[in-house]
């Protein structure tokens, strides 16, 4: 599957939630990111109430702490029923419900929890992403 991009490697990805609700987003493809990220409000809408941290005292079991170059951040770990880019589809993909800054203009980041075990190529000269199944899966 070859998908062109302009500035950032992005694809449109379809998420199907636990309640059958479907949401499609323009997602940033980031093989350097361990987990995928999704806004909390959408995680809730897709049928994952555990995305809301409504208990301020006890630490919930699905609390996730991440580290980035300028500090630590927290989100809630959920497992999205199905995630698909065209013909490439995965079930029970780990996402972190976390609100990226709105000024970033992206709601969703696709990390290794979705990209594994695919083969991904980012060709900056050709401005193209290639996503395909690995040899074993073929």
């Amino acid at each position: 599957m070859r998908i062109p991009f302009q500035r950032f490697p992005t694809v449109f990805v379809r998420l199907t939630g636990r309640n059958g609700c479907l949401r499609e987003y323009r997602a940033l493809v980031s093989p350097a990111t361990e987990y995928c990220i999704l806004p909390k409000v959408d995680a809730y809408r897709l049928g994952y109430p555990e995305a809301a941290r409504d208990e301020p005292v006890t630490e919930p079991p699905n609390l996730f702490r991440g580290v980035t170059f300028n500090g630590y951040w927290e989100g809630m770990l959920i497992s999205v029923k199905e995630v698909a880019i065209g013909g490439v589809s995965r079930t029970n993909v780990d996402f972190i419900a976390f609100d990226l800054p709105q000024v970033a203009t992206f709601d969703v980041i696709l990390g290794r929890s979705f990209l594994n075990p695919s083969r991904l190529a980012i060709d900056y000269a050709g401005n193209e992403i290639r996503i395909g199944e690995t040899e074993e899966k073929r």
Binding site: F8, V11, F12, G20, C21, E24, S30, G86, T105
Partner: protein, 77 residues
Amino acid sequence: MPASSPETREATFEQIKKEHPNLWVAVTVTKRDENGQPVAGKVVADDADRYRLRDQIIMHNDICIFFAGEPLYPLFL
């Protein structure tokens, strides 16, 4: 764009980006390419705030959401 007057005209995503610049847009997809990537759709709602947009599309079970623009500053996500 008020939720009570949804657009019914199909437009390509390039046209949608030109007509709704720097806004979060919710679209029902009508056409896809060979990779399953959306190429055309009908705009259901748009807003400068991603949360207000969600309030406008709460009744939709299958919708595409994206920002019709580029980040203003360099990105390090």
